[in-house]
């Protein structure tokens, strides 16, 4: 049966290849997995994505140079292929040739009748971005307040406005207003010109409207709208931050800063640590709230203090977000495990190797494992900080409170948590708790939970291992030259790679030697 039909199938396939538009092969190979074979945005991978992949049949495109409701120009679609959609699962496509891109753009336009029935789209004339100045930025802030961008994006732009919890896209999926302090995650790009273009065109298919009518009605001037773009741009760092492999704990003489607002923190550069959803072990979580933590560290030879700042639009639990939580848990991967019922707090964990400094391999970065545990500072917005030991994701154990020495102080303001955690460098109970040696790279990792986003347990944001380096108390020459710092960084990077390789080998070994143990963990 199969043998006889095989030649027929081959002939049909050849025929199909001849008649199919040239972009189809590219589309089927690279795009269909997410956007679906028919362009409906419902490919196999779509269910784990938020925002969902574009439905090309509606021809409603977020990133355009055209007025709201208009089709995108070909150049607009090419632009998305060139730079991807930051902040979403859509990557850039440098691997496609110009010819392939032309073909696939032509092909995805065939998914919607609108590209036949509508007139050719006209790009709006945006003019040129003016140079930034303090006056322009201040004026932009005024207009930002006046035209009420803050209703969704928040007073400080962290996506925490009063209307944030009820946002949904045109397909009724929950969607978050952009956190304007992270311009490298803006769907349409993070330059002043990009921001101005989004203000003019809106992001069709999302709640972000076009403000072009304001210019037509002379409610504000074009210059004022440019100033809004300049202000929004000023909320984010000048350069996109690079993850810091090493967090330097600055040596301070005297007392450590006792509060998150203490002036001493302003002297310390924060380390940027990106976080991602935990999608390794069930229950996986594809729509995490927290994607960045900024870490400042200081010690005084006796104590270590960490100042952790992360953006979260909700101070959980918050009844205003209950409906959001219901919606997002029903949309995202509902089958791994039932959603946790009841109010959930926000939470944060700092993870150390339980037995650092013994020349051991790094514990498994996700809560350690049976043979190599991790030591956690686990903070919750409702109950404060607890010291824990973990030997796996669901094997966390609070350490005896007698020895608890970690102190916590937290504030929540305008969509941002700031958490100060302090402990003595030396642990009393060294069997379960790490001591912090100076002048030694110590492994450190982070996890965050947003209760209003249905996050608890395995549903969390995580980082991989980083290192914290406590500056050595020196009697002379406290200032390490940049060259030395660079050398240390290079050495640490080398160490990191070595350890990772070693660990990788170790894991493979354990897989072959202890198959029962591994499967039991899953």
């Amino acid at each position: 049966m199969m043998a006889t039909s095989a030649p027929l199938v081959l002939v049909m396939a050849l025929l199909a290849q001849q008649t199919a538009p040239p972009g189809k092969a590219v589309y089927d190979k690279w795009c269909a997995e997410c956007h679906g074979a028919q362009g409906k945005g419902n490919g196999a991978a779509a269910l784990t994505m938020l925002p969902r992949p574009r439905d090309f049949t509606q021809a409603r495109y977020q990133v355009r140079s055209t007025s709201s409701g208009s089709l995108p120009t070909d150049a607009d679609i090419h632009g998305v292929l060139e730079r991807g959609m930051p902040g979403t699962a859509m990557p850039a496509w440098p691997k496609l040739s110009q010819r392939e891109r032309d073909d696939v753009v032509a092909y995805l336009k065939t998914f919607s009748r609108f590209f036949q029935s509508e007139a050719a789209p006209q790009a709006l004339d945006f003019g040129k971005a003016p140079g930034a100045s303090a006056e322009r930025i201040a004026d932009g802030r005024k207009t930002y307040d006046k035209i009420e961008c803050w209703k969704c994006h928040g007073r400080q732009g962290r996506g925490d406005g009063p209307s944030a919890p009820t946002q949904e896209d045109d397909n009724n999926h929950p969607i978050r207003p952009a956190n304007l302090t992270e311009n490298w995650r803006f769907n349409g790009g993070g330059t002043v010109a990009d921001i101005y273009a989004r203000l003019r065109t809106g992001l069709d298919g999302t709640p972000m409207p076009s403000f072009s009518d304001l210019l037509d009605s002379k409610v504000i001037t074009d210059e004022q709208l440019w100033n809004v773009a300049l202000f929004v741009r000023s909320l984010a760092p000048e350069q996109q931050p690079e993850p810091s492999e090493v967090i330097r704990a600055r040596l301070i003489t005297g007392e450590l800063p006792a509060t998150v607002d203490a002036q001493a923190w302003e002297q310390i550069e924060p380390a940027y640590i990106p976080l991602v959803g935990q999608i390794i072990a069930k229950p996986r979580w594809f729509a995490p709230t927290v994607n960045t933590v900024w870490v400042k560290a200081a010690h005084n030879g006796r104590e270590l203090a960490l100042l952790l700042s992360w953006d979260d639009p909700s101070r959980s639990p918050d009844a205003a977000w209950d409906e959001w939580r219901t919606r997002i848990t029903s949309v995202m991967e509902p089958k791994d495990a039932p959603a946790t019922a009841g109010a959930l707090p926000d939470a944060f964990a700092v993870q150390f190797a339980a037995r650092a400094g013994e020349g051991r391999d790094l514990p498994y970065f996700l809560n350690g494992d049976a043979s190599n545990p991790v030591y956690l500072w686990q903070w919750r917005s409702d109950t404060g900080v607890t010291e824990m030991q973990a030997r796996g994701l669901d094997k966390e154990q609070a350490l005896s409170a007698d020895n608890a020495r970690v102190q916590a102080q937290a504030t929540f303001r305008d969509g941002r948590w700031q958490l100060l955690l302090r402990r003595t460098l030396s642990a009393q109970d060294t069997a379960n708790r790490a001591s912090f040696a100076t002048a030694t790279p110590l492994p450190i990792a982070f996890a965050a939970w947003d209760g209003s986003n249905g996050e608890s347990g395995g549903r969390r944001s995580i980082s991989s291992w980083y290192f914290i380096y406590l500056e050595q108390p020196l009697t002379a020459g406290v200032y390490i030259t940049p060259a030395m710092a660079a050398a240390i960084t290079a050495l640490l990077a080398f160490l990191l790679v070595m350890r990772a390789q070693k660990q990788h080998r170790g894991k493979d070994d354990s897989k072959t030697s202890q198959p029962l143990n591994t499967s039991a963990r899953e």
Binding site: I147, T166, D204, M208, P209, L214
Partner: protein, 261 residues
């Protein structure tokens, strides 16, 4: 090649060429011209009726505390009337002639419809507009609203109005109905009915509607309601005749329809 033939035919005969051409032809004018003759008043017929509903009214309280300026415009707790029924009579059903009208152009609407945002509510809740003719979206609140129109047949739009202002919009094609939402205020919901002729009405508080000025003929009339769905009826009217066309939704319809917009 085909499209070139089409355009030649259009140019020569000023006629539609079938398929997409026909759509483009009707959308260009929206079935209306300034000099289109009205129906002879001596002949004009009327269809009127009552839309009734056997179930209970449904309304939801709105928490407007985040917008005190809007809340002040309401006496008591603001509510969203999902099914607005009084003594069994249904308000805010959109009733229109769906089929049976002659292929011709109709006089333009004499007034420009207005969809107002007042007290963080759409007024009216159901708006009728003519294809290819302007309507106005008004912000009477003076605080930020976004107007997100999500059609299937037409192109949608999403515009921001952060102050008291008007925006002029239009839809090219007939489409019943186009949902309109404001994402700043998740409770705000309106529907726009776009028709390419003047024969439509929105039911009053007592469930009544009147469609007048019709040429004699046999029509499919549809009643559309956002929660109760659509019902159609055949009505034949002779010259100068008035016919009664009553629609009735049973009390169980609402239960069967999923709550979804």
């Amino acid at each position: 090649m085909f499209s070139r033939v089409c355009s030649i035919v259009i140019v020569l005969a000023l006629a539609a060429c079938g398929g997409g051409g026909e759509e483009a032809g009707s959308s260009a004018e929206g079935g209306a011209t300034d000099d289109a003759p009205a129906v002879d008043p001596a002949q004009a017929a009327t269809i009127s009726g009552v839309v009734s509903y056997g179930g209970a009214a449904q309304s939801e309280n709105i928490d407007m505390s985040a917008e005190p300026e809007c809340a002040q415009k309401h006496s008591g707790t603001p509510t969203r009337k999902v099914v607005d029924v009084n003594n069994g009579k249904l308000r805010n059903a959109f009733v229109y002639v769906k089929e049976g009208l002659p292929q011709r152009s109709w006089p333009r609407a004499s007034e420009t419809p207005v969809l107002d945002q007042d007290g963080c509510e759409y007024k009216p809740h159901i708006v009728a507009v003519r294809a290819g003719q302007d309507f106005i979206i008004r912000n009477s609140d003076g605080l930020l609203h976004n107007i997100n129109a999500k059609p299937q047949t037409n192109r949608g739009f999403n515009v921001g109005q952060p102050t008291k202002m008007d925006s002029k919009k239009q839809f090219a094609q007939a489409e019943v109905m186009i949902p309109v939402t404001c994402e700043v205020h998740g409770w705000m919901q309106s529907y726009i009915g776009v028709v390419d002729h003047p024969y439509y009405a929105v039911t009053n508080e007592d469930g009544t509607f009147t469609i007048s000025g019709l040429p004699p003929g046999t029509y499919t009339v549809e009643s559309w309601h956002e929660k109760l769905g659509a019902k159609t009826m055949q009505v034949t009217v002779g010259a100068s005749e008035t016919k009664q066309a009553d629609f009735s939704y049973s009390g169980t319809t609402a239960m069967a329809m999923a709550r979804h917009h």
